[in-house]
């Protein structure tokens, strides 16, 4: 998962659908995120590359909606409801995740173990393994070159390029 800015990137992604939980007045997802293009990437304990400014899952509330849905600590969030998360500010990511109007959040996440697992179990052939796991293709954004908003739109477009691994 070494990303070269501007170069196409391929990642195994997993779709995770999280049903928000009403807790008092808030709808909660039950996890914490870290990272973002406005954050110091060197402090991200989860990223491989210290220049990765992506949004990562840093904590999961045990038994919370995210936990139930299978989100894991250290997951890198690629998309939220179709919005790109690979080159956004921390706050933007948080806002996208906590939209009050949406009860369900659909995430595309990637994680190291996922990739390894796929590689190991299937080798180079793209044998279907998980119904909700897919290869995700896109162009890794140039850090800081494109504006966040545009990047998101493009990402949405690129989603079509992704193909899911199906049996």
């Amino acid at each position: 998962m070494a990303f070269v800015p501007g170069q196409p990137l391929t990642a195994v992604v997993q779709r995770i659908e999280i049903q928000k939980l009403q807790e008092r007045n808030n709808l909660i997802l039950g996890f914490s995120i870290g990272g973002g293009i406005d954050q110091d990437p060197g402090q991200n304990p989860f990223s491989e590359s210290k220049s990765d400014k992506g949004i990562y899952v840093t904590r999961i509330t045990p038994g919370g909606p995210a936990d139930v849905s299978g989100l894991m600590m250290g997951d890198k969030i690629m998309q939220v409801n179709g919005y790109d998360m690979t080159m956004v500010t921390h706050d933007y990511a948080r806002k996208k995740l906590t939209k009050k109007s949406e009860v369900v959040v659909r995430l595309l996440v990637t994680r190291k173990s996922l990739e390894q697992a796929v590689k190991q179990s299937m080798g180079p052939k793209l044998t279907p393994q998980f119904d909700n796991t897919a290869w995700w293709r896109g162009r890794h954004p140039h850090d800081g070159v494109r504006s966040t908003g545009r990047a998101s739109k493009e990402r949405r477009g690129e989603e079509r390029i992704c193909f899911f691994m199906t049996a």
Partner: protein, 869 residues
Amino acid sequence: MWGIVNKPVNMLLVSPDTWQIQAVSLPAAPPSPSLPLLPHAPPRCEEKVRCHISMPIPSQPATKPVPFTVVVPWLPDSSWSLRHSAAPSIHYCSLVLGVGEEDGKSVSKRESSGRGLVVSNEQLDLSLTRARLPRLPSLFIPPPSFALLDMLTTSSSVSPLDTQNALHPRCLSTHPSPCIRLLSSLSQSQALILSGTADVSNTCHWRHHDSDIQKKIDHEIRMRDGACKLLAACSQRDQALEAAKSLQTCSTRIMAYMSELQRMKEAQVMQKVTRRSSDAGPMDDRLPCKGKVAISDLRIPLMWKDTEYFKNKGELHRCAVFCLLQLGGEIFDTDMVIVDRTLTDICFDNTIVFSEASPGFELRLELYSCCSEDDYSAGSTPRKLASKLSSSLGRSAGKKLRAAMEPGPCSPVSNGGASPLLLPVPSVPGPKYHLLAHTTLSLSHVQDSFRTQDLTISGNEESSYWVPLYGSMCCRLAAQPRCMTQQVMSGCLKVKQCGGDPQSWRKVYAVLKGTSLFCYHRQEDVEANVEPAFTIAVNKETRIRASEKDPHSKVQNICISNQYGGEEVTHTLTTDSREDTHRWMEAFWQHFYDMSQWKQCCDDLMKIEQPSPRKPAPVTPKQGSLYHEMVIESSDDPSSTVSDILARRLQELELRSQLGTSNPWMSLFEENNPKSAGRPRPCTSRLSGHSPCSPRRLPRSPMSPHRCPQLGLLSSDVSLTSDSDSHCSTSPCSQHHGWPEPSSNFSLMSSSPSRLRPRTLSLDAKLSTLRGRGFGGGGGTFHCPCQPAPSSLLAAIPISARSPLSQRSTQTTLSCSSSTSSNSSTNSESSHSPESSEGVPFSRPSPARRSLRNLRARLDPRNWLQSQV
């Protein structure tokens, strides 16, 4: 003969040659006077305005001086001076000078009322002169006011000579020297009333005193001007605080001198009155001796909230405080002390000695405080301008300008609740001290040891200058009456012990001082510090009487009786002459009187440590408490090394506890379980079912903490570290859960049940918090530099027991490395580790480790936020 102009205001200037200050005292029914008024229009420059007031013939011949009052319209311009020449028969005359209206109102309109009573039909000559033109006449806005008139009216019931009543803080003294002309900028309601007397005999004493005080006032005013200039020029905060402090002190001194001057003049009037009304009986004018009063070791305990003090949390509040001590006309200030929450007590090292205290003294102690963080530089533009102008225009013009620009008299708050400020402190931008607490000490508080006194707190917690006072103050208040330290009387005596041989008179040189009558053989022995031949006690138990006339001699004897162990011993003194005997008797009476007045101070001589005139910048140890002397400042500090070792050790422990961390993914792929495909549930949970650790996994559904005991533990950790941001910032080295480790213990290890908003701490705040924690010295707090776990740890981890698979993963991880060392090392431990079953469920972070993590996180200069969603 009374002229009261109905628009008088504020101001007065009178040459002190013959005029003294007196309050208004108006008789109720005045004869209707012919009203010779001063020209109501303001006198022109270089002009002399004359006013002849002819005194109407009183209804009855005056045997006593009766005060009268003249009100003169005036401008608040100090360049004018008033002279008068009064006929010798006029003994008193009160002058009220006020600001009149500058436009031409007819004189007749000003004859609002004529009140007063005059002694004779003599003439009173008043002349107003001024030397030069005011430079900025447009700035002199005469404030419209009926204030004085009101005052006159209200005080009209006061009997003419009741100076007690009449003398009120509104009075103000004046001074002939130019610098005191400042006084002219009084507020509207403050009128100055001067009373004059033509009778200048018998006034030598007070006048001498008077000029002394006026010199002092001069001096203080110059000091104050200097302080103002300094304050305006100050760029450093501490300089400004010091300058503001001396300004405050000077102002208070001026006030005190003024009122003393006032008192003296008042006393003189009184004296005259009583003398003239000669029916007053013989007054016992015995006055107790003066003495020294010293206050030292001032300590004012503070009461910080524990969170502020121990945890060093919250906004750092810093105040500059000092004490102003006033006893009569003597005013001293202490050093300035900067107070913040690291101080448990405010300590003033100064010893302050008042040398002119009478036994009825009242020592007023005022604690002033000023928030040292206030933005003092944001003075209002006009003030700045004024101060600039004043420095550029030259002294007098600038002063006038400043006076004119001042919105009003300085706030009485800064005046410490004393009488209203007649003398406005020139307002300059700068720190302002506020009265925080005060107390008044008197003779009964004097004790030759430390004592706690109550403080009256006048600030409150909301004020910016607030310092959490405990409400008490410790100090040592000692007094040395002069009768204890100086010779009261000395001279040659013949002494005979009673009951002895009638012929055994001993000739001695006796010195009465303190509680003894020292009897020396010769007078030279006194200077030579020779031990006295014998000593006769003279204390409160001693009885002294004049004996019957000795049949053998013509003079009266003095008998001194003392009780020595139940036995009365009487000494008989005799002198050469009758006058000497009287002098001695008088001295004894005075001595006894002094002792009775000074009470406990005359039992023993209290020690007073003389303050050294100018201490060479006291190298006071940094004030603070023990807690703060345990600072771990730098990393080369040995203690820091120790804590480093501890930290490393902790990390090791942490690693060990994670050795067993199994990776469900790994195990999954080892088993290569194909069943997982096509399952509807998220893979993690499904997979964890196959993982060896799965039984320890928490139930997923419950959200309630009651069902997760570990959560309770976690939250207790939270409360131990008591940092709201402890879960929100993570540094690479503190976060020990990496990517490939989605093991079941996550839920226990690092999720926090508390929902805390992430908070961004500035570096300063972090460091101060850190230091605070370091100071706190709690068992679980360690000071450790932010650095990843030492690589030696990595190397130390055994690789032997790894499965090929996990080894591969290790290699991958290590090859892309860089992330966190602890990550990789944790990673490198396979799930086959024998400890795995024990390690996982109990691997919640200990408080110590958590706080270690927090420390590290806080040391990071940059943020890596985490947001709960």
